[in-house]
Chain length 471, copies 2
C-alpha cells in the first residue's frame, strides 16, 4: 500500500442497498474537481451559486454531468480545510443509490485525477493532519462496529479522547523525569541530582499501577466489544436449550446472528440490558468411552475454556450425587482459569416444596461459586438469571471507568509496565542510572505508541488496513 497524502482521494462512504449513496472526496483541489463535473440546479441559496468558491459547511443542489449526459441529480456538501473530517478540503456527493451511478461517479472522479481511497485512508489523513490521535482513530472503527450500548459507550469515550488524555498525562510525567535524569547524566561529573529519587520511585509506581489497571481492563473491554462468552453446559436433557430459548424469548433481549457460525454451532448473540452476550450451547456432558461422543465432549470442553462464564445446568430430579459428579467434572476442566461458574439447579418445580433447598445444601460448591434454583420454563425465573448475568459481568459501570478494548493498546500497556518494573528493580539494585533512564524512555515509547505520538509505519499500516473503505 502506498499512501500519498497529496492526492485527491475518493470512495463511496455509505453502504449498499439504500436510497441514497454518499461519495466522499478529500484533498486540496477536491472542491474544484467536483465543481468541474457539476451544474448547479435552480434551488440553492443565492449567495452560494458557485461551487468552486463555496464556503465550508454549505450544501449545493444540482446535476453531475459526464460531457452531455446527466448522470444524476445530487446534493454536494462542501467542507473547507481545516474544518473537515480529514482536515483537508473535502466534498461529499449525495447521489441516488444505484450501483451504476456510484460506479460512474467514481469513474468520472478518477478520470479527473482522483484516486480510489484505500481502507481507512480518510481517517489516516485525519490522524496525519493532527485532527485526531491514533487511539481516537481506532475508536472510529470500533464505533462503527459496535453492536451494543456498552461497546458503543466505550468506543465513544475513546473517540472523544478520554483514554488519550489519561495516556498522555502518564507519559508527560515519565517524560519529565526522563529529561531530568538525562540532564543529570549530562552533568555526570558534578554529581548533582535534578530528579528527586523518592519522587521518581513514587511516580514510576503510580504510572505502573495505572497501566496495569488499564491492561487488566482489557479482558472486560474485549468482552464488552465482542460479547461476553457464556458457555451453557450440562448433561443432556438438563434444560440447556430451554434456558437459552428462555433468554432469547425475553422481550428485552435483542437477538442477532453471528454470520457463518450460528449454523455450525448453536451460538446466539443476545443484547441483555445493553451488554452483548455470546451464548454457546454445548453438547451434553457425560462420562463416555464412545469415540465419536468423546470428540463432541472435547469440543464442549474447548467451548468451556473459551467462555468467561460457565452456566452449568443440572436437573434437580437427578439428585445430589449426579449433580456433585457433574460439578466435579466441570471444575476439573475449568482448572484455575479466571472464569465464573454458575450452578443452575433446574426443574425445581418437579420436587416437593423445600426439597430443592435441601438438595442445594448437599451440593459441594467451592466458595464464591454462585447458584440459582429455577424452573427454566418460567419467565420470571429466567429474568433472575438475566439479572445474575448482568451482575457477574459487572459492566454496568463500564462508562465511568477507563476500559481498554484494543489488543494493540493492551500489549503496549503491558510492555510499558514491564519496562517500569525493570526501572524499579534497577533502582532497588542500584544499577547505573543511565540504564534506569533507558527503561523509563522505553516506557514512554510504549505509551506514545498508543496515541500515535510515536508511530512506526508498520503500526499505521496495520491499523488502517482493517478499516472499511470510505472511512
Amino acid at each position: 500500500m502506498i499512501y500519498d497524502s497529496s492526492d485527491i482521494i475518493a470512495a463511496p462512504a455509505s453502504g449498499s442497498g439504500g436510497a441514497i449513496s454518499v461519495i466522499r472526496i478529500s484533498g486540496a483541489g477536491s472542491v474544484a474537481m467536483v465543481s468541474s463535473l457539476f451544474i448547479p440546479g435552480p434551488e440553492n441559496n443565492d449567495s452560494e451559486r458557485s461551487l468552486i468558491t463555496a464556503r465550508g459547511f454549505t450544501l449545493h443542489y444540482g446535476y453531475l454531468k459526464d460531457r452531455d449526459a446527466v448522470i444524476d441529480e445530487v446534493i454536494v456538501s462542501v467542507f473547507r480545510q481545516p474544518h473537515s473530517y480529514t482536515g483537508e478540503d473535502s466534498v461529499e456527493i449525495s447521489c441516488h443509490a444505484s450501483p451504476y451511478i456510484e460506479h460512474k461517479i467514481m469513474e468520472m472522479l478518477t478520470g479527473k485525477g482522483a484516486r480510489a481511497a484505500m481502507p481507512g485512508e480518510f481517517t489516516r489523513r485525519a490522524f496525519i493532519n493532527g485532527r485526531i490521535d491514533l487511539s481516537q482513530a481506532e475508536a472510529v472503527a470500533d464505533l462503527i462496529a459496535s453492536e451494543s450500548e456498552a461497546s458503543h459507550r466505550l468506543a465513544m469515550n475513546q473517540m472523544r479522547g478520554g483514554f488519550s488524555q489519561e495516556i498522555n498525562s502518564l507519559r508527560d510525567k515519565l517524560l519529565q523525569f526522563a529529561s531530568l535524569i538525562e540532564l543529570e547524566l549530562d552533568f555526570g561529573d558534578e554529581d548533582v541530582d535534578f530528579a528527586d529519587r523518592d519522587d521518581l520511585k513514587a511516580t514510576i509506581g503510580q504510572v505502573r499501577e495505572v497501566t496495569e489497571t488499564l491492561a487488566a481492563s482489557f479482558r472486560l473491554g474485549n468482552a464488552i466489544r465482542n460479547g461476553f462468552p457464556v458457555a451453557i453446559a450440562g448433561r443432556s436433557n438438563s434444560g440447556k436449550s430451554t434456558i437459552l430459548n428462555g433468554l432469547l424469548r425475553d422481550d428485552r433481549a435483542i437477538v442477532s446472528d453471528i454470520p457463518g457460525t450460528t449454523r455450525d454451532a448453536i451460538e446466539a448473540n443476545l443484547n441483555i440490558g445493553g451488554i452483548l452476550f455470546r451464548f454457546i450451547d454445548t453438547a451434553g456432558l457425560r462420562e463416555t468411552s464412545d469415540i465419536i461422543e468423546n470428540l463432541g465432549i472435547r469440543k464442549t470442553y474447548q467451548k468451556i475454556n473459551e467462555a468467561m462464564v460457565v452456566l452449568l445446568v443440572t436437573d434437580a430430579t437427578d439428585g445430589a450425587d449426579i449433580i456433585n459428579a457433574t460439578v466435579e467434572i466441570i471444575l476439573k476442566q475449568m482448572g484455575s482459569a479466571a472464569k465464573e461458574l454458575v450452578l443452575i439447579i433446574n426443574k425445581c418445580d418437579l420436587l416437593e416444596s423445600g426439597q430443592c433447598m435441601e438438595l442445594h445444601k448437599s451440593v459441594n460448591l467451592p466458595t464464591g461459586v454462585r447458584s440459582l434454583m429455577i424452573n427454566a420454563r418460567e419467565e420470571d425465573e429466567i429474568a433472575r438469571l438475566r439479572d445474575l448475568l448482568l451482575e457477574i459481568t459487572g459492566s454496568g459501570d463500564a462508562g465511568n471507568t477507563l476500559i481498554i478494548t484494543n489488543s494493540r493498546h493492551y500489549s503496549a500497556l503491558t510492555s510499558c509496565s514491564q519496562a517500569l518494573k525493570r526501572a524499579e528493580e534497577g533502582m532497588a539494585d542500584g544499577i547505573p542510572f543511565d540504564l534506569v533512564a533507558m527503561d523509563i524512555r522505553q516506557a514512554t515509547y510504549y505509551l506514545g505508541e498508543i496515541t500515535g505520538a510515536i508511530t512506526p509505519d508498520e503500526i499505521l499500516r496495520n491499523i488502517f488496513k482493517n478499516f472499511c473503505i470510505g472511512k
Copy 2:
C-alpha cells in the same frame, strides 16, 4: 398503510455496511426536532451556530445527545421548504454507520414524535407537494435499480420529465377538444359546432399514433430495464457453453449474478456496451422419446419463448442436414412470436477452408434471419457476435427517443388508445356526440393516470409500496 402527511417522518436512507449512514427526517418542525437533540460542535460557520434558525442548504457539525450520553458526532444538513426533496422542511443526519447508532437515533427521533417512514414515503410527499409527478416518482425507483448505462439513461430521462411533458401535451390537446365538445352539448338546441370535426379527427389520430408508438416501445424498454433475454439453444456439444463463456470472458462484459436464479438455471447477466443482456443457457435440443429428457426440452422451449433473441448454436461438422433439421425444430417452436433468431455455425475452423461457406449456402433460412460463422474459441469471433447482439437490440439510440419501461404506463397507454379508437369508430358510425365525448374524456383520464394528474389512492399505494425505505 396509513399515510399522514402532517407527521414528521424519519428513516435511514443509506444502505448498510458503509462508513457513514444518512438518516432522513422530513416534515414541518423537523429542524426543531433535530435541534432539540443536537449540540453544535466548535467547527461551524460562525453565522450558522444555531440549528433551529439555520437557513436551507447549510451543514452543521456537532453531537447528538440522548440526555447526557453523546450518541454520535454528526453532520446535519438542513433543507427549508419548498427547496427540499419532499418540498417540506427536511434534515439529513450523517452519522457513523453503526447499526447501534442508527437504531438509537431512530429511537430518539421517534421519542420526540417522529414516525418511521414507510417505503417510498419521502418520494410520495414530493409528489403530493407537487415537486414531481407520478411518472417522475416512478423513475426515481428505476434510477436506483438501474444496472446498465442504457437503463440508467431511460430512468434519468423519465425522472427529468421528458416523458411527462409528452403525455401532458397529448392530454392537453384532448382536453381542449373534450371541453369544446361539452360546450357544444350545453348549447345542444342551438346546433352550433365549436369543435371542428376534421381537426378533432386529425388530433385523435395523432394522439392515438403517439400513444401506440409509446406503448409499443414497452417491449424494448422493459428489456433495457431488466436485460434483453437471450436464449442460447442448440444440440448438445454444439458449443453453447463455449459461446457463453467467451462472452463472459470478454473484458468489456461486466458479469453480474441474478440472485436465486443463477444456481437453478444457467443464467448470466452481461453488460455489453452499456446494455444489459440476460443469457439463458438451455438444455441440449434433440428429438427424443425419453420422458425425463422431454421435460428438460420442454423447459428449453419455455426459455426460448421467453427470450427476445434466440442464438441457435450448430456444429459445422454435423453437416447441412442436421443443421437444417435443428433450424426447423426451432422455427416451429418460435412460431410467429416477435423474436429474433440468429443461426451460429460454430467450429468452422474444423472444416477445410471454404467448406463452411458452402455449408452455409445449403442451410435453409427464412429471409431476415441472421447467421454467423465462427469459431467460438477465438476472442475476435466472439467480438463479432457481441457486435451483432448490440445491432439486433438496436438500443444504441435509446436515449434519443421516448421509450417506456413501466407496465403501469403501458397499460394506461393501451387503454388510452383503445378509448381513442372507440371515439374514432363512433365518429365514423355517426353515434351521438356525447358518447364520443365520453370516450375522449376516458382517454384523457388514462393519460392523467400516468403523470398522476388523476390518481386513485390504490394506484398510489401500489406505486410507493415497492420503493425502498428512506426514499
